[in-house]
């Protein structure tokens, strides 16, 4: 039996709304798939639009595969930083298991300087495996790599000289790391996909929690939010910030949204499934996910209703909607961002105020 969630957010105005991308390659006006370079520039222009329309966060996640253009999120965020003024600039996620905490800090502290304090890091263990052989790590050690690197990251984020010793990287002896940020702290969360150990680890180090819910009913994650709160109470850390990251697409009507999202979704997941041994995605399964699962696809009203329900059920105070999964027309992505900012977000706030 699920435990009752205690709402972390007190007011609907406290809830943050984000847009997440992995830099999927969109199609241009001729229907041709864009190059990696053009796809990266597309994300920068989308982030500028999101900033102008008042969306709270843009989060860019790291992949090392042909179908995604973003392998270095913070470089793209640096590009966005000098072209925007309000939007928070997050990774989603930084695969810390195959990255170095000191370098991660240096890169995000640089983005933080360029953006006047808007940089955020979301750390993850990574659900893809390509980065391990690419950077010379043994995937068999992924749990130990992540554990050690989270521990070191928590130290480096204090922005004081660090003394640390572990087995996956050289020891540090009173090492000071630069540039220092103006606020003294880069906002850093841990993204988890359902591993209880990761939830407990986030609480142990006092990191905010981002739940990646990419399939099935969001209600299944209620106990994970509860585990985070109980673990935080045990470690005497804060559990105030819990967010969710789920994929979606918005168009004028439900039918239009489904007709645009389905072919792109199928190409996207069949390609990943091929290397992971999943069967091809079926349309009825996709429609089931749209109806009852974790695909937030439809008209602004449909998506807003579904988002509000999830926010209430899980008691989260941040919702990051992953947009543009698969080769989708760039114009449809732009339109989605407009609808998200001008119709969906205000409507979700309204729905949350009603109860």
């Amino acid at each position: 039996m699920a435990t009752q969630p205690t709402s972390a957010a007190s007011k609907s105005s406290d809830i943050l709304f984000g847009l997440d991308s992995f830099g999927d390659l969109p199609t241009d006006k001729n229907g041709d798939v864009m190059s990696h370079a053009a796809a990266i520039r597309q994300v920068v222009s989308e982030a500028m639009l999101a900033d102008k329309l008042g969306i709270d966060v843009i989060a860019l996640g790291e992949h090392h595969r042909e179908d995604f253009s973003i392998s270095s999120p913070e470089t793209v965020l640096a590009g966005i930083a000098t072209q925007t003024s309000r939007i928070k600039l997050a990774s989603g996620v930084t695969v810390l298991s195959s990255d170095d905490p000191v370098r991660v800090f240096e890169r995000f502290a640089t983005v933080d300087a360029l953006s006047n304090g808007r940089a955020q890091i979301i750390l993850g263990r990574g659900s893809f495996t390509e980065s391990f052989p690419l950077f010379g790590f043994d995937l068999r050690n992924y749990e130990q790599l992540f554990e050690e690197r989270v521990e070191l990251m928590a130290e480096v984020l204090k922005e004081k000289p660090v003394t640390w010793k572990g087995s996956t990287r050289a020891a540090l002896d009173a090492a000071d790391v630069f540039p220092k940020t103006e606020s003294g702290r880069i906002h850093t969360s841990i993204g988890v996909g359902g591993s209880p150990q990761s939830v407990v680890r986030a609480a142990k180090y006092g990191f905010p929690l981002m739940l990646a819910v990419i399939g099935g009913s969001p209600e299944r994650f209620v106990p994970y939010a509860e585990l985070y709160k109980q673990a935080a109470a045990e470690y005497d850390t804060s559990s105030d910030e819990i967010g969710i990251h789920s994929p979606g697409f918005i168009a004028e009507t439900d039918e239009e949204a489904i007709e645009i999202a389905w072919p792109a979704h199928k190409i996207n997941f069949d390609r990943i499934g091929k290397s992971r041994g999943w069967p091809p995605v079926r349309r009825d399964h996709f429609l089931e996910e749209v109806k009852h699962g974790s695909l937030y696809i439809g008209s602004p009203e449909t998506v807003a209703q579904k988002m509000a329900r999830t926010i209430k059920t899980l008691g989260v105070n941040r919702f990051d909607l992953v947009y543009g999964g698969g080769p989708m027309p760039a114009t449809a992505r732009t339109r989605m961002i407009e609808l998200y900012a001008t119709q969906v977000i205000p409507r979700v706030r309204e729905l949350l105020e009603e109860t």
Partner: protein, 124 residues
């Protein structure tokens, strides 16, 4: 609950082990579960995610349950407590994932399933 209802042991407290524990508890089975570390390490997770499941060491789960489900990474199968599992019904839910299990021709051989290897190991 009838006395004849078997107790279910789960070795592995990751995503799969937790879901199996939840389902078995919901079906009113007695559940014992072990992670890779000490029972204490998974205590809080199980109290919240699968309340009612008893956390134990791997060897205690194996020796005290009627049915034992293997839900650990396949590469660890040779460390299973063979003696404690003797005469038990063992259900193998492990799959070969070369990226974490390492390249192993014995595990990827299409002529035999990995469960046959596990069975052979337990019959030693």
């Amino acid at each position: 609950m009838t006395a004849a209802r078997p107790t279910i042991g789960i070795i592995g407290a990751g995503k799969l082990g937790v879901v199996l524990a939840q389902l078995a508890l919901a079906a009113r089975y007695e559940v014992r579960i072990a992670g890779s570390g000490s029972p204490h390490a998974i205590g809080l997770s199980m109290r919240v995610l699968a309340p009612g499941a008893q956390t134990m060491t791997t060897i205690d789960v194996a020796s005290s349950s009627d049915i034992v489900i293997l839900a650990l990474p396949l590469r660890n199968y040779q460390h299973l407590p063979v003696d404690a599992l003797a005469d038990k019904l063992v259900i193998d839910a492990m799959n070969y994932w070369w990226e974490v299990d390492g390249e192993n021709p014995a595990l990827s051989d299409p002529a035999s399933s990995t469960s046959e290897l596990v069975q052979e190991h337990l019959h030693k």
